[in-house]
Symmetry: D2
Subunit: 349 residues, 4 copies
Amino acid sequence: MPRLAIHRLSMAHPGDLSELAGLITRGALRAGDVRAVIGKTEGNGGLNDFTRGFFTQTLMLLLAEHTGEAPARLAARIPCVLSGGTEGALSPHYMVFSVSAEEAPGQRGLALGTAFSAVTPAREIGRIAQIEAVIAAVRAAMADAGIARAEDVALVQVKAPAAQAPDPAARSGDAKVLMALSRAGAAVGAGVALGDIPADRVTEAALLSDLSLFSNRVSISSGVEVTCNEVAVFGYADGWAEGVVAGVAPMTDLLDLAGVQAAFAAAPGEVLGVIAKGEPDRSGAIRGYRHTMLGDTDIDAQRHLRGALGAIVAAVAGDGRVFVSGGAEHQGPPGGGLVCVFVRRSPPP
Amino acid sequence: MPRLAIHRLSMAHPGDLSELAGLITRGALRAGDVRAVIGKTEGNGGLNDFTRGFFTQTLMLLLAEHTGEAPARLAARIPCVLSGGTEGALSPHYMVFSVSAEEAPGQRGLALGTAFSAVTPAREIGRIAQIEAVIAAVRAAMADAGIARAEDVALVQVKAPAAQAPDPAARSGDAKVLMALSRAGAAVGAGVALGDIPADRVTEAALLSDLSLFSNRVSISSGVEVTCNEVAVFGYADGWAEGVVAGVAPMTDLLDLAGVQAAFAAAPGEVLGVIAKGEPDRSGAIRGYRHTMLGDTDIDAQRHLRGALGAIVAAVAGDGRVFVSGGAEHQGPPGGGLVCVFVRRSPPP
Amino acid sequence: MPRLAIHRLSMAHPGDLSELAGLITRGALRAGDVRAVIGKTEGNGGLNDFTRGFFTQTLMLLLAEHTGEAPARLAARIPCVLSGGTEGALSPHYMVFSVSAEEAPGQRGLALGTAFSAVTPAREIGRIAQIEAVIAAVRAAMADAGIARAEDVALVQVKAPAAQAPDPAARSGDAKVLMALSRAGAAVGAGVALGDIPADRVTEAALLSDLSLFSNRVSISSGVEVTCNEVAVFGYADGWAEGVVAGVAPMTDLLDLAGVQAAFAAAPGEVLGVIAKGEPDRSGAIRGYRHTMLGDTDIDAQRHLRGALGAIVAAVAGDGRVFVSGGAEHQGPPGGGLVCVFVRRSPPP
Amino acid sequence: MPRLAIHRLSMAHPGDLSELAGLITRGALRAGDVRAVIGKTEGNGGLNDFTRGFFTQTLMLLLAEHTGEAPARLAARIPCVLSGGTEGALSPHYMVFSVSAEEAPGQRGLALGTAFSAVTPAREIGRIAQIEAVIAAVRAAMADAGIARAEDVALVQVKAPAAQAPDPAARSGDAKVLMALSRAGAAVGAGVALGDIPADRVTEAALLSDLSLFSNRVSISSGVEVTCNEVAVFGYADGWAEGVVAGVAPMTDLLDLAGVQAAFAAAPGEVLGVIAKGEPDRSGAIRGYRHTMLGDTDIDAQRHLRGALGAIVAAVAGDGRVFVSGGAEHQGPPGGGLVCVFVRRSPPP
């Protein structure tokens, strides 16, 4: 019987995986059991954030040392979803998702499945090719986990590729726009795979444009350090150990404190990890009052967003170890987002 | 009988006081009744934030036009406390505090008194001279309001001076440090005037150093656009109209959601204005988890802080019109801060 | 006989015009003679740079005080071209261009003429309407100066409008893009008026796209603090006093030190003012080596550009009082720019 | 006979050493011959710049793969001096200094020697312990190169340690100040070793304070990614191959174009590498005109400095592959700096 475990670890800098090394060395975690890593590094979260690549390189070297598998092979099967930017109250940390086999009768519990699409070149980003690749990858990840139905999925997390180099055939010459198109393509693909977005309404033109297409169960980051769509699906499946539960709730806008609290209320217990997505409201206002995130020449809008959203979620969660990622296009309602909480379920009183 | 009124107004940019002009023009507010203005402009909040000076110049011109008093004279009697930086969810806005005379029997209500110290040159900033000037100004402002006892004070708000130009006789050659010393000097002075800080423990060396000296009822901003200590005191006094109430509560750390909620719970009613102070925890961690606000080369620590604190308070308040100011030295516990809410009291059910 | 004079003045902050006030007070300059002001304020140069508006308001108040003319009327006839951002070696300063009448026989000298277009609403920015408005304004400014032929023009300086508020009819919903379109529209209009750009090749689609259309004698800034196209034209005309000369030269790329030196060589004498335009090479490389200006999440590309270009020009000029403005679309060759030097001509040896 | 070779290589990102890998693979460079690496990565150059660590990790892995030596051992003998920040015209690049043995009679040429001090804990930074450690390391590096006399030294390049973690015994609790103290300690130590700074004037209090103590032949960077003082000394020694020459000249201030040109004039030939140091003038002015580098809340002073200095040097050098590092305390006159050019000497005409 597979059992999903979540270790939430801190780091002194983006190349510091000493806490994970310690777990492995003292036998608390088998390196070979690691199935996915989701974390926040202290970069700027933008095009020129290399803390993600630094962490990934260090992680794969560490796992290679303990598994004997080559770093490149590990990187090709373990999704490493990093979001740069620990603005404000956020704390650099990473969640290590591992699956171990137990000698025990199968129950029904939270399952994890992963899949990688083929390499997505710049010219496919934000195009039907990417959307279809993500649909297929989400389905493959569900199958990997043994999740039978779309409604059993709690969360799909994707790390989507950005362009490594300018490509005249790309949908946009602006690397930042291409990064947003990549998030949009992956979000819409995942939304279709879950049945949250009707396949017949999906067009390339709808990406970043028709924001009525969204899923509340999809979280996407994009970055230059990945070249394909890396997918991790969390959901409930037969045959998996009980114990870990996920609570997910949408946020209708950035200040939706009740939405955050709803996610935590849906999954009472010891918090093992928190994922939140959001975005600066494009209208330039929240609840009728002007915000200044989109027009600041000195601080990037996503850095503003993460600082604000991260603080609200951290205030509810109780500490700053919250994975907050900006760019929530098609992931929750426009101007809003979502919160997902992983907990060790409290035993019934 | 004096009656305190609070108008909370938005602006399209730091030189836009059209909402205030509209109130005056259509008779909803007498220009001569304006006693203090507290607001957030969309600058960076640091040494080179000129949005505060731009707003102040525009405000005094507008009031001069309607009162016939010279701008310089108005600026010398109306505290204009501006904090730059509307990071994240915050919305540029300003609170206009006015006092009108009513033909009615005196009650007991929230009163406002103001006072200005003499010009504080750079060499007196963060020195006993400034502390004593602020003690005297707070007492003068209390007398101005008719607030009889220190325990009747809800909040002291001070705009403290920063150095206009380098002065070899100043306590620090670093303008940013001098700005912090000015906040510290004003906070400790106000704390002594309120009886929250024992006078016999106050030394120049204690500023920015002995953080056990603090008051939970003191909020300080500093800036190069003022040259003396401008003081506004809010508290309860006989002979003032009822209706407006203030709720104040400390925050023990940046994530103290319960502290924020306590301030709002202490003053139920229609929110007229919100003031919050906080600071990045100097230990480099919040509740044991590392934050990165103090070591970011690209975003100033106070900008990080305002984005995070502002979002938490705004999430509770319901919108982004929250006056959030960083640099909370001696204003609340180390790493923490305070929240003050002004409301129109709900009538008893 | 009109005589053009240039005073280059420093400021302690964007609201400090004390040096100009001093000149006027002690009779060195008549307030009524001021015809144009071009300066650098220490903001960020972007959408949320309010140092330009602060300076303009203060300037017009000062001139109003000394001329008796209303600030709004002065602002409608005196071009005030400010560029925010004094990165690196640059020094905040402003050039005051004044024209006085002399009792003397007419010679042939550097002339200044000004003109304002009608208000340009957001929907006309970057459209034929703006281009035609600028063509007409440049011609009007030439006529104002008495400059007979386009080849006698040394430099056209335009302050072009940005959108005050979002307008669904605008060419772009991105305020930053609209700001670039405004620079492009004004540059192309001025280039057509000078005969440097063939009118029959001008289309709306060519703006920001066909960069083979450019003039080496055109310098444009745009900003939210202006609502129409403010034009100042410098050139040689009969009947103007001798003495001041302009040297202009193109820069083929950002590192074109020889180009900068050529502008100074073309006008030997005491430097009265320097204007430079440039832009980050869109190819992402300069002379084959990658630059990082366009992909930095933390420092805006134009801030990078001004710091680099400003230092090179200042190193040749001898000090940091150089007007450097980014966004050189259609103003010089792609990736390059131009330098214009005003000098008091050295007497022949 | 040892021969010093310099390869100047570009990178697509801080983890991209493919150009070096290519040289090694096709036999143009033996991995075992690499003696030092000096480069610019595209980070922010401050405390939270992890591009340096990422590059170093990748470099040592690459060399390990080709030499069979462990990465940690390579890192302990090959100085890897990285400066983050490619502002403005600068281009990310690195210089690989290698020494190969030739079967040829000894001549007299440019030599390279290296040495590492013992680990320097935070409490020794900016203290006599660090200064003495650097003096010893510079002497060891000279001996390693066979450089007989201090006057034969062209340049000492040091990578000095910053604190990995707060230490109450450190000279400053401010990590940024400690970083500056580390540069100062290393600069003064190297200056003493060269005889440019009199040993009897050196005290801990003089660091960052008595700026009349300086050497024009010393360039220091500091960073959290190193834990000891890594020293590379370039100078002329018997028995080394001819061909490579270094030209060094001081800059009296940031705009000292003649100083930059003097360094290039001193070493005519094909440019192999350029090193420049400088700093924002602490007086707040350059040649009497105010600069704004030291008071900008949004752009770090060193980022301003590198953008400006880098552009001037690159304009003379001809492209952006210039190693520019800020923080020039005790390395050249106050407000100034130095330039060092490595060239392949032009054959006599």
